[in-house]
Every structure is written in C-alpha cells, then in structure tokens.
C-alpha cells in the first residue's frame, strides 16, 4: 500500500527518477502488472536481464528452451487469462525465432507484447553481429511494432505497445530496443496509454444496425448463430448465452470459439467447418438468417465461398470493420464490442424456441453419431482411437480441464469430443495451424492459471517440434499434463494422402524415439499405453499427479478424422466417410 501511495504521489507531482533504459523496460512491465514473462537471453538484451535479476521478486522470468517456445507460452498465458502475454528475446536469431509465435498470435488475435534487444543504434544497417531487421520482418505479422533508439522513448513505446496489444481486436506487437537505449539514462515516469490518435479500437455501432439485426432475427424461421473467439475476447459469454437462450436459436462454433458456451448446452449444435459436425455444416446452407458473432468466415469454416449460405441473410457482429464483407457479403453489420452489442440487442429479441428447426440439427446429429461418433468414442475394433482417449480425459477431468492442443488430427478430435464446461478452455493454434504450439502454450496456460488442470494434447509430429520445452516444464515445476497421441504418422497429411493422393505416403511416416525415456530424461513421470484396458487407469494416474506427467497413447496408425468437408467443396458436401 505504501508503495502504491508513493507511486500515486509521484504521478501526481510528475516526479521522475533517473534510471537506465534497461531498468525502465522492467519498470514498465511492472507498471503494466506483468508478473510472468517468457524469454531467452542473449547479447543485445543482456542489460534487461541484469535488471530482471534485480527485480526477480516482482517479475518471474521463464527461461524457455527456444524463443518460439517463449511466444507460444506467452500465447497460452494470454489465451487462458485474457491478459497480455509477454515474450522477450535478443536480437538476430532470438528475434527471428519469435516470428512463428507472433504470426500465430496475429491470425488468432492474441494479445502479446514482444520485446527484442537490438544492436547499438550506430551499428544499425552495418550487418553487425546478430543484427537483423526485426521491425521489417515482423511488420506483416504484428498489429503494431516500433524500434526504440533512445532511452527516453522507452516508457511511451511500451505503454503504447500494451494498449494496442490488448485493445479492440487484440494482437501481437513488437518493440525493438537498441542496446545503447538500454544503457542510456532517462528521467523515468510511467503513464498508461489510453488512446492513440489515428486508432479506433472499438468502432461505433451504426445507427439502426441493431434494430435491423433484431428485425431479421425475430422474423427468421430458420435462424442459425455461428460464433467465434470474439465472444471470448470480449468476455461476452453471459450476454451470448442470454441471446441464444432467449431467441432459442441453435448455435455452432469455430475452433477458437469453442468453450464460450458449454458443450452440453442444448442449443450448442457443435463445431463448424472442415472437420466440424455434420448438422451445423449441412444446415448452414439451409438457414434463412445466419448470425455470425465474433468470427471471420475463415476458409476452413466456409468451404467453397460461392456455395456458402447463399440462401441466407447474413448478420455480422464484429469488432474489426475490415472483416465486414471480406469473405461473405453481409446484410447487416453490427460493429462494436460483442459484449456491448449483444447486451444492447437482447431486449429487442423475441422469445422463441424454433423447435422444428432445432430438431433438424438433432436428426443430423443422430446420423453423425451412428456413422462417426460412436466408432470414435466407443470403438469396438482393435486399436485405440484418439476419440476414446479424449473421452476418457474428459470424463476424468469432469470437463473442467483446459485443453491445449497442437495441430492436426488430434486437434480436430480433441475439439470435437471435449465437453467444455468453462470458457477459455480450448487453447489451440487455429488460423496459422502451428505445429509445436501445444506444449509451450500449455506451460504458459498452467502458469497463468495454476488452479486449473491443464492438459496438453499433441500428436507425435507436432510434439517433436517443440519437445525441448519439457526442460521448461521441469525447471519451472509446471504441473502440465502432457498427452501424446502417437500414430507414428503425420496423421492429417497422411489422411489427405490417403484420400486425395492415392495413398502415396510421402514423408509422413515417423520413426519415433522412446518418448517415455525422453520425458524421464527430464525427470517427468511418464507412462505409455498401448491397450484399451490400460487407458482409464493411466489417465487416472495422470490426473491424480500433482506434478507434470507425460502420457503416450499409441493409437491406431491410420485412423481418419470425419466428417470432412473436402478442400474446395461446399459445406453441404460434408462427407461422413
């Protein structure tokens, strides 16, 4: 409290302190209430690490085993907490290693601040050791970035960075700080950024758009809601649920929207898109009003655009004006923050139930259950399926766990069969499809929400892309549960090779190491399961573990994920086999 008062007095009097740029960077993070950061030291960022050493009681720096891991951990942190994740790296290769995570955060709208060290400003452009143009390189994949060459500019740059990262449609920002700016002194004071001229984080809702949307919704005979991560990012889950329940409209979700409404909710009709559920895909092309909320009509959701919901009037609730009409022509655009717009529209919506229409979803679910789901989660044939593993984890975690997935078949299966009870429980790389995302993201998620059970689920391919982060788990004592669904294949690519390349399995078979031994090499408890009868006990042991636990489950080698909307096909051409 005392420090708080002193701090307030300082702000009131505009008292400044003479400190080094490097210390200013750490002080800015403290001012932004950052308690955990992920990174990797190196030459150009060493002054900052020296300050982190001094401030280690205030900021916990997590040494990942690769800078890519730092960004994914920061993403996992952000996705489960709704706060800005922070990653830090040195210049050159340290900085370029951040790019995959930054690009992932950009396309999945994850708030993240990346800080990179840079060579001395007099060396810029001289091809100095570990010099790279990270501002240039990161430009297309950041919401905003800048380079700081003077210590005095550090507080304002970082304040702006945090503001931009978290406001409006969130995204990654990068601040590149030269070593001389870190060594230089400045008169430090910190003011949080609350606006940037030229930047409108939340656009105004056009007059009449709510009324027009409400009219369409109220008059619709077969309305269909499709929602995305916007509901979660706006923390509009309550408003969203209220709208769904009052209007009685069936609702389907994008992969990043998963968990905003519990899976068990009667109006939750499942996942959209390529490996989504049968009913929501089929009926997209039969609804009369399509109500999109906080989603961006990604091609994996829409399939062939020319044959996507052409019969329907489209309402788009969206915070980013550039998304309106980008892929799908909208009849009514409701711009703004979903929490506010949904709140505002609710009183205008008539109570309804749409029973016959809803029944169509249920009927199609039955078909999907018989053809696909039953065999996935209650298989009778030999060989474990990914679906039954997910089901077991789900039962034993009572749907309370946060599921962090990688990319591929296991990801689709996990999203399809996890019964989410809590929001912010599905952490995955959606837009970029970054293999290797899962393990480090799970570390970040667990550290941001230590009270939650965090289960990382990966395939044998993606797992090995960032497997070194087991070292971070060990060093940080992060109690992440790590599951690898091993089919000794890059399964999703193999599935495509089977379906579309006449089974020419080019470079998709993996000759894998002893995963249990590797985990044990990092002193992580580990187990391998190959038989159905061992599964439940192994999952129970994993769930009961107070520490990190590694579970390898050998699943059928050539299992396929269905349903499937083949690439370039319409959503109504979804295949069940």
């Amino acid at each position: 409290m005392e420090t708080q008062t002193i701090k307030n007095n300082q702000i009131a009097k505009k008292v400044t302190e003479r400190i080094f740029g490097s210390e200013a960077i750490v002080r800015c993070l403290i001012e932004e209430d950052v308690k955990i950061i992920y990174g990797y030291p190196g030459g150009a960022i060493m002054p900052v690490y020296d300050e982190l050493y001094k401030y280690q009681d205030k900021i916990h720096h997590v040494l990942t085993r690769h800078e890519q891991g730092a960004t994914h951990s920061a993403q996992g942190f952000a996705r489960i907490s709704g706060k800005v994740g922070v990653a830090i790296a040195t210049s050159g290769p340290g900085a370029t290693n951040l790019i995959t995570g930054i690009a992932d955060a950009q396309i999945d709208s994850t708030p993240m601040v990346c800080i990179t060290g840079q060579v001395f400003s007099h060396l810029l452009g001289s091809d100095a050791f570990q010099e790279t143009d990270i501002v240039g390189i990161s430009t297309p994949v950041t919401k905003w970035n800048c380079q700081v060459t003077k210590a005095a500019d550090i507080p304002a740059a970082l304040a702006k960075a945090f503001y931009i990262a978290r406001s409006g449609r969130p995204g990654p920002v990068l601040v590149d700080i030269t070593k001389d700016a870190q060594f230089e002194e400045l008169d430090f004071s910190y003011e949080k950024c609350t606006k940037v001229r030229s930047y409108i984080p939340v656009p105004k809702t056009a007059e009449g758009s709510l009324e027009a949307a409400a009219k369409l919704i109220n008059e619709a005979k077969k309305p269909f809601i499709i929602w995305g991560q916007g509901v979660i990012l706006s923390e509009a889950e309550t408003q969203f649920k209220a709208l769904v329940e009052k209007s009685g409209i069936p609702a389907g979700w994008t992969i990043l929207g998963a968990s905003a409404l519990p899976t068990s909710h009667p109006l939750n009709v499942g996942m959209l898109g390529m490996h989504g559920n049968y009913a929501p895909n089929k009926l997209t092309n039969e609804c009369d009003v399509l109500i999109a909320i906080g989603m961006r009509f990604d091609d994996r959701v829409t399939g062939k655009l020319d044959e996507y919901a052409t019969q329907a009037k489209v309402i788009h609730f969206e915070i980013d004006p550039a998304e309106i009409d980008k892929n799908i022509k909208t009849d009514v655009a409701v711009l703004g923050d979903a929490k506010l717009t949904l709140d505002a529209i609710l009183p205008m919506i008539n109570e309804n139930s749409h029973e016959d229409w809803h029944q169509q979803f249920k009927d199609l679910y039955e078909i999907e259950y018989e053809k696909v789901i039953k065999n996935d989660i209650h298989p009778t044939k030999e060989g474990l399926t990914m679906g039954e593993v997910i089901k077991e984890i789900n039962i034993q975690s009572k749907g309370e766990a946060a599921i962090v997935t990688d990319v591929g078949q296991h990801q689709m299966i996990a999203c399809r069969y996890t019964e989410f009870n809590k929001t912010k429980s599905n952490i995955t790389s959606g837009g970029l499809g970054t293999m290797g995302f899962g393990l480090p993201a799970a570390i970040g998620a667990k550290m941001a929400a230590p009270e939650r059970e965090v289960v990382s689920i990966s395939g044998d391919g993606g797992y090995q892309m960032t497997i070194q982060e087991l070292g971070t788990i060990f060093q940080q004592k992060a109690a992440v549960k790590v599951v690898v669904l091993n089919n000794d294949f890059l399964g999703m690519v193999r599935q495509w090779q089977q379906l579309f390349f006449e089974k020419r399995y080019a470079s998709t078979e993996m000759v894998n190491p002893n995963f249990v031994a590797i985990a044990e090499g990092y002193y992580i408890k580990a187990k391998k399961v190959t038989k159905r009868e061992e599964l439940a006990d192994a999952v129970a042991e994993m769930m009961a573990s107070k520490e990190a636990y590694f579970l390898e489950v050998c699943v059928e080698k050539e299992g396929n994920v269905f349903p499937m909307v083949p690439s370039g096909a319409s959503v109504s051409e979804i295949r069940l086999e």
Binding site: V135, G136, T139, P140, K143, W144, N145, C146, Q147, I164, K195, V196, R197, S198, Y199, I200, D320, P321, A322, E323, I324, D325, K326
Partner: protein, 176 residues
C-alpha cells in the same frame, strides 16, 4: 458491383512514422497487387502524411484493401476514388542534349505545343518539365524519343479529390 478492373486512386492519411510505408506496401504485396504508382507527401494538416497510391483493380477488392489499410494503427483514414472523382497530375522530366534545341527546329515546336517548361539549359543539356495526365507525358516522350533523350523520369500521381476529406474533423473525434 463491377468486376471490371479500373484505375483507382487510394488516398491514405497517416501519422508520419518510420516503417509505415513498409506496413502499407506489405498489404498490397501480400495480395499480389501491383502498385501502379506511389507518392508520399505532407498533407493539408500539420504532421499528417498523405500517401497517394494508384492501383488497377476491381472495386470490390479496393474496398477490402481500404479496410486493411485503415486497420493499421497509425493510419488515420483511407479513401479510394476513380479518375472522375479526382483532379490528378503527374510530372515528367526530360534531359536532352542542348545542341538539339538549336539544331532541331521541331523540338521547339514540340515544347510549345505540349506546354512543357524548360527548367534549365547549359551547354551540354537542357531539362524539360511537363505536368499533366499520363497520356500527355507518354505522347511527349514519344515525340522527343525520335531525337534522343538522355534521361527521362516520371513522378507518381498526385491527386486531390472533388469531395471534401474532413480529416481535421476526424482527428478531433479521435481526441474525444
């Protein structure tokens, strides 16, 4: 909406920051769109820069590009207009051997007829400046080519719009 390609002038009002050119040009590059011409200059408002970008695109895509440009944090506003809605000019410089000016009578006629202006003359060369529409410059270039041109360069398009831009009003709303 027309699916025909057309020339559009995109006007972008921005903060004057390092890196913004890169950020804006990346939007075009990523979508494999060729920029016909690009000019950056101060605008009517102190501290606000103006990009004038000419593209040959279908209108629907120009609209999407405008959305992507405006999405950039340091962009204040972007507009697009067809040629009818703007008053635009480009400028060209021709460096020609001085002896031709005196020996080739026709050159003097060409200069007069085209309303070109002699910027400088010395014993070796003279420099001709011509502002106008692209077609006028192309025509002048063709005519002078017959005699030999030592150097030729043409600027990007600069344009003002017939409609009001209201950037000042917009900046005020940002302050609120």
């Amino acid at each position: 909406m027309s699916t025909e390609r057309n020339l559009y002038t995109i006007s972008v009002y921005t903060e004057n920051n390092i890196g913004l050119l890169n950020r804006i040009s990346a939007i075009f590059q990523r979508r494999h769109i060729n920029i016909e011409s690009l000019n950056i200059s101060p605008s009517e408002i102190d501290g606000v820069a103006k990009f004038t970008i000419v593209v040959n695109m279908i209108e629907d895509n120009v609209k999407k590009i405008i959305g992507q440009i405006e999405k950039q944090v340091e962009v204040i506003k972007a507009y697009y207009h067809d040629d009818e809605a703007t008053i635009y000019q480009i400028s060209g410089l021709f460096k020609i051997k001085s002896e031709l000016l005196f020996e080739e009578r026709q050159i003097q006629n060409i200069i007069k007829e085209s309303n070109a202006r002699i910027v400088t003359v010395n014993k070796d060369f003279f420099v001709l400046e011509k502002s106008g529409k692209k077609a006028e410059l192309v025509e002048l270039h063709q005519k002078l080519s017959a005699f030999g041109i030592m150097q030729y360069t043409r600027s990007g398009r600069i344009a003002v719009t017939k409609e009001e831009m209201k950037i000042s009003t917009l900046l005020e709303t940002y302050h609120n």
